[in-house]
């Protein structure tokens, strides 16, 4: 059964919108605006009109029309302008449009209709310069219902379970400590609703996740924090993390401030001490050692699928093939522009290639090697929207992993201060006893269900428009893509 979206408004009194609706003291509380606005900007309580809900406003173009709130207000108390905060919110990758439209999708489960761009960001390259070439025309509602967004995670011919997930998305690892329990629980419950999975990240397996263990991936990373025999045996998928996109080739680092008693207990460490996760695995110096690692997990958990997470160096295609031969079911490429926790700026920007380049490179090589059909290729690192997901799949991935988008749905606005002081001021990426109380897991679960549900609907529409019945048919269909910086004739034929 598909989970349903439910209206889940912001935690904050004021939601930042693209437009600013101002009401002057001339307002007489006549409530004309409430009937004038079809978008729900105006509400009342106890006969008093409340502060306008800016984020629902359709802007000056709508306000200029006959019958608009501005025109119908008998006291000329209303003005609608572009919000000056629109210019300061977000950044190049996640610009204000994308942040606000993701908030909107998490609130309503629908794409915004007031002109906010919800498909691409403003980075000026990669996904942001690609388009999915979609035929126009009506979409058959029945086809939308029947289209499948399910992907298979075990494509090997072995005796392990043929596990599949209901969305071509699973949740990227964000450790307990880097985020709090409410964030993890919200994510795992929402992903479970879509029959998908959440990776623990390298911070151990909190007890609260145990009831959800059939939808959890245990991450085994270089610090081996919280990795125990039972946490490997709990789960359907075990992920080996070699490197991560935000800081490829560097270790992880949880600052001492974030090592609270709960974090320390689960990581079997000392409260208040910084925890370093080294790079690389000090037990893996070769692909043979890698094989040994995978065999070890296979012995400990005979039903687990094995995922190998690597970042994107120039030889990422060789790495992927090596992982396949070592027995991995899932090869997870983490591109350089993603990441959620703290990382040196120099690494985030400069080390390893963006995921857009890595996907076709690896896909092509796996095809040439004749093993593409036996491995699941997962991409992550800067996938923000349903359109990013579709583009990644058309470039050759089977599915994707998200992280930041989930946090934005929980009202992260990418202030980049996850690690400073007491941690996230918005209660997401912090285990601070006071700050974390800002996040409620029921609220968080529904916000994420709304986002995923909206993504699912968008993916379904893309597939139906392309005449496909399943997301797996989109894999490698680069002929469905157009790059705006390339000569128009250059539509690809790669399969």
């Amino acid at each position: 059964m598909t989970p349903t979206a439910k209206h889940t408004p912001s935690r904050y009194k004021n939601v930042i919108g693209k437009y600013r609706v101002r009401r002057s003291s001339a307002c007489q509380n006549c409530r004309t605006c409430i009937t004038a606005c079809p978008h729900g900007v105006f509400t009342d309580s106890g006969g008093k009109v409340l502060l306008p809900l800016d984020h629902l406003c359709f802007g000056p173009a709508c306000a200029a029309g006959e019958g608009s709130c501005v025109h119908r207000c008998p006291n000329q108390a209303l003005t609608v302008t572009l919000n000056p905060m629109y210019e300061v919110l977000g950044d190049r990758r996640w610009n204000a449009d994308l942040v606000m439209s993701t908030w909107y999708m998490a609130e309503t489960g629908r794409v915004p209709e007031n002109g906010l761009e919800y498909r691409i960001g403003g980075s000026g390259g990669g996904f942001d310069r690609m388009e999915i070439v979609l035929p126009d025309g009506p979409v058959d509602p029945q086809a939308l219902k029947e289209v499948s967004t399910r992907i298979l995670l075990n494509r090997r011919k072995d005796d392990r379970p043929k596990l599949s997930i209901g969305l071509p998305v699973y949740g990227g690892g964000m450790s307990f400590g880097s985020v709090n329990l409410a964030t993890m629980i919200s994510r795992v419950r929402a992903l479970t609703a879509f029959d998908s999975l959440l990776c623990t990240g390298e911070g151990g397996f909190p007890d609260a996740l145990v009831p959800h263990r059939d939808h959890v991936i245990t991450q085994v990373a270089t610090g081996l924090f919280g990795v125990r025999e039972e946490t490997i045996q709990y789960v359907p998928v075990v992920e080996f993390k070699y490197a991560q996109g935000a800081k490829p080739g560097l270790g992880g680092h949880l600052l001492g401030d974030k090592v609270t008693p709960a974090v320390a207990r689960i990581r079997e460490a000392v409260v208040g001490t910084s925890l370093f996760s080294p790079f690389p695995f000090h037990s893996v110096y070769s692909v043979e050692d890698h094989l040994k690692h995978l065999d070890w997990i296979k012995q400990v958990n005979p039903r687990a699928l094995l995922a190998v997470k690597v970042s994107t160096p120039t030889d990422v295609d060789m790495v992927a093939v090596g992982s396949y031969y070592a027995g991995a079911h899932i090869i997870h490429l983490d591109g350089s522009y993603g990441g959620t926790g703290a990382a040196p700026d120099i690494a985030k920007k400069n080390i390893a290639m963006p995921i857009e380049y890595a996907i076709p490179k690896v896909h092509r090589f796996l095809v040439q090697e004749g093993v593409r059909d036996e491995v699941t290729l997962i991409a992550s690192g800067g996938l923000r929207t349903a359109h990013d997901i579709a583009k990644a799949i058309a470039l050759g991935a089977d599915g994707v992993v998200t992280g930041t988008a989930d946090l934005v749905a929980l009202e992260c606005l990418r202030c980049h201060n996850c690690e400073s002081g007491r941690g996230c001021p918005r209660g997401i990426a912090t285990t601070d006893p006071e700050l974390r109380l800002q996040l409620d897991e029921d609220w968080g679960t529904q916000r994420l269900i709304n986002l995923y549900s909206c993504w699912r609907d968008q993916l379904a529409e893309i597939l139906v428009r392309l005449g496909l019945t399943s997301i797996s048919e989109l894999v490698g269909r680069t002929d469905c893509l157009r790059h705006l910086d390339y000569e128009p004739s250059g539509g690809g034929r790669q399969r």
Partner: protein, 468 residues
Amino acid sequence: MPKKYHIHTETAPNRHRMPGRASLIDWEEGCLRCAVCVKKKCVYGVYQNRRIDPVSLADTADMLCKHCFSCVQNCPNRLISKSVNPEYELLGDDYWTPSILSTLNYQAETGKIPVSGAGYSGPFSGPGFDAIWTDMSEIVRPTRDGIHGREYISTLTDIGRKPQFLAFDPDGRLVGAGSSHLDIPLPMILSLPAGLRLGPALIRATAAAARELGTFLRMPARLAEDMPDLDPAQVMPCFDRASLAQGRPRPRDFRLIEVEDFDGIEDWLAEFRRVAPKTVATVRVAMDSCFLDRLAALTEAGAPAVHLATDSHGLSPAEDGGRATFIADLLRQAHLRLIEMGRRDEITLLAAGGIALAEHVAKAIICGADVLCVDTALWAGLECRVCSDCGSRVVCPARLETAPEAWVVQRLLNLVGAWHNQLLEVMGAMGMREIRRLRGEVGRAMFFEDLERDSFGPIFGRRKDRPA
């Protein structure tokens, strides 16, 4: 193994208010006087700690604010707002962007590597160094933990000519002059920026920082002449023909000098090598369309080092309506030319211009430089805002002339220390333990053009900005 090179960093607080990325606008009118105001709940204590900066007489809230928007979104009467900060936007220029200036300022203040959460936030790629990514290895040698680790990553760099092989006479004695090269513990020379404010105190402090770092301060010879108290072993004076003719200061009194290229410099170099065998003479060549031929000729003539200097944006002068070329491309051409001649290891390439971030050092070395001269970035670390009208301004907004010497030294150590640690990070990710091995290693980098062609070419065809 030699002692690990370490740069001592410690906080050297800003002397001035650094404009914040966005302004905080606080409409106090209409305040409901809530029992617990959202301003009191600021996680960063912005409202408690704000004050009027005694120099600029402006509010420091913008500088302290970390843009979490919590107060904006929680104020029940919607009285707090944020907007673009024009003061921030006006910092620097299109190369020395506000974000570069603030990160340099942070590094000079703290000596720390800039770290932030939530992934990368910038453009996909860009011109110049932003079109290059450095590589990494999934599986590298054991025991490598970057700056936190146990393994020694060397940034030692040689300058000068080294014989390609040793020759001995029949009695087993070394024949020839042997090596006259010198080494510096990191591939950077501090250099006085052209066109920005200089004062004797500032120069002295920069020289002290260079000494502490074990590198050189590059400065005009006439300034070196005026400051005889500077240690000649840490100063790299730059001579032009006139100052050479003048004979003061004497080039041979220094370990490293730079000479502006002139007709007949080959003879001068030969003579100089005879009279001052221990001094390395670098030739600065004009960056015109003939620079590659000039580099080749000087290499043939046995010049120990050549300096390729571009402007502060890393550009060579554009000639005859042609396009200016960026330092990364110039370095790749120069390096390749020397490789083709089979003489790359005989000569040291110094480069200058547009080195604004630690990653630029790594990328310029990958493109072929041995040593970078860092100039404007140092001043940015001293809170310089790279005003375009520096010379004609009456008052420097950073009051560089009043900067205490100890503060300048510490700021420069902090900046270079943070850069050095970042170099170790990128080298560690590559599994590279010697910066000398990184030089010209384009295989350890990925270039925008190549990635587009190899990954996207088979899919999308030809880029619009590429000629047919």
